[in-house]
């Protein structure tokens, strides 16, 4: 379980390292007018705009790692959900709404999606966690209604919501695949195919 903490620490070191790369936002973030630079799809989630942005995401990552350890989530599940949410979940919204995206929070919200599914191990109702997380995600947009910040706040909230839902769906998918492959293994061991 502690492997998750090591994985998170490695990610934090990468985030801090990338933070000191000169011109990181222009060179590595996901920009609509630089669509031909394909590496940006892999780098944008490691870039942070300012120190507060970096600190908030480090705090978020540390928190989901601690919760994952508490819930005894496997490193494979945690890392695959985290990285795939970070790389993929913002893409549909980015194509639809055209904005410059950077930061790791989509990956963190993917992690929250995974956590929401695993809290059932402790008898916590999954729908309550999903409801609370959704309310927290859209709270910022709600308070920005009628202000000039609403447009960027709603894009941020939607992007986080996509990350959260992606985490839930991706974990559901890998759990299903795992259960099918386990059933096949059991059948082979039982000799059903003889």
């Amino acid at each position: 379980m502690k492997k998750i903490l090591v994985f998170s620490l490695a990610l934090i070191l990468i985030y801090v390292g990338v933070f000191f790369v000169p011109g990181r936002v222009e060179r590595l973030s996901l920009m609509p007018d630089k669509i031909t630079e394909a590496w940006r799809f892999l780098t944008y989630s490691f870039v942070h705009l300012d120190i507060m942005h970096l600190i908030e995401n480090i705090a978020g990552l540390t928190l989901i790692a601690l919760i994952a350890v508490e819930l005894r989530i496997a490193l494979g599940d945690f890392s695959s959900v985290y990285l795939s949410s970070g790389f993929l979940s913002v893409i549909p919204l980015w194509f639809m709404m055209s904005f410059t995206a950077l930061g790791a929070s989509n990956a963190i919200f993917g992690g929250f999606g995974l956590i929401s599914q695993e809290t059932r191990k402790f008898g916590v109702k999954v729908w309550i966690i999903i409801l609370i997380a959704t309310l927290l995600i859209f709270m910022k947009s709600f308070f920005a209604i009628g202000t000039g910040e609403f447009s960027s706040a709603i894009k941020q909230s939607l992007s986080h919501f996509f990350g959260f839902m992606f985490g839930i769906c991706f974990f559901f998918l890998i759990s299903k695949i795992r259960s099918i492959s386990m059933n096949k293994k059991r059948s082979v061991l039982r000799g059903d195919y003889r």
């Binding site: 705009l49 942005h53 908030e56 819930l71 950077l102 929070s105 008898g123 927290l136």
Partner: protein, 40 residues
């Protein structure tokens, strides 16, 4: 062009911290109940 900072935010961090505390509490409760059952 909008730059969207994908940052977690204080409210979500507080919510996550609350969830972590709650899970620890449930875990301790479970441990105590198992210990009590073993003693009996």
């Amino acid at each position: 062009m909008d730059i969207i900072e994908l940052s977690v935010g204080a409210t979500v961090i507080s919510g996550g911290a609350f969830l972590l505390t709650y899970l620890k509490k449930i875990k301790n409760k479970m441990k105590r109940s198992v210990l009590r059952n073993n003693e009996e």
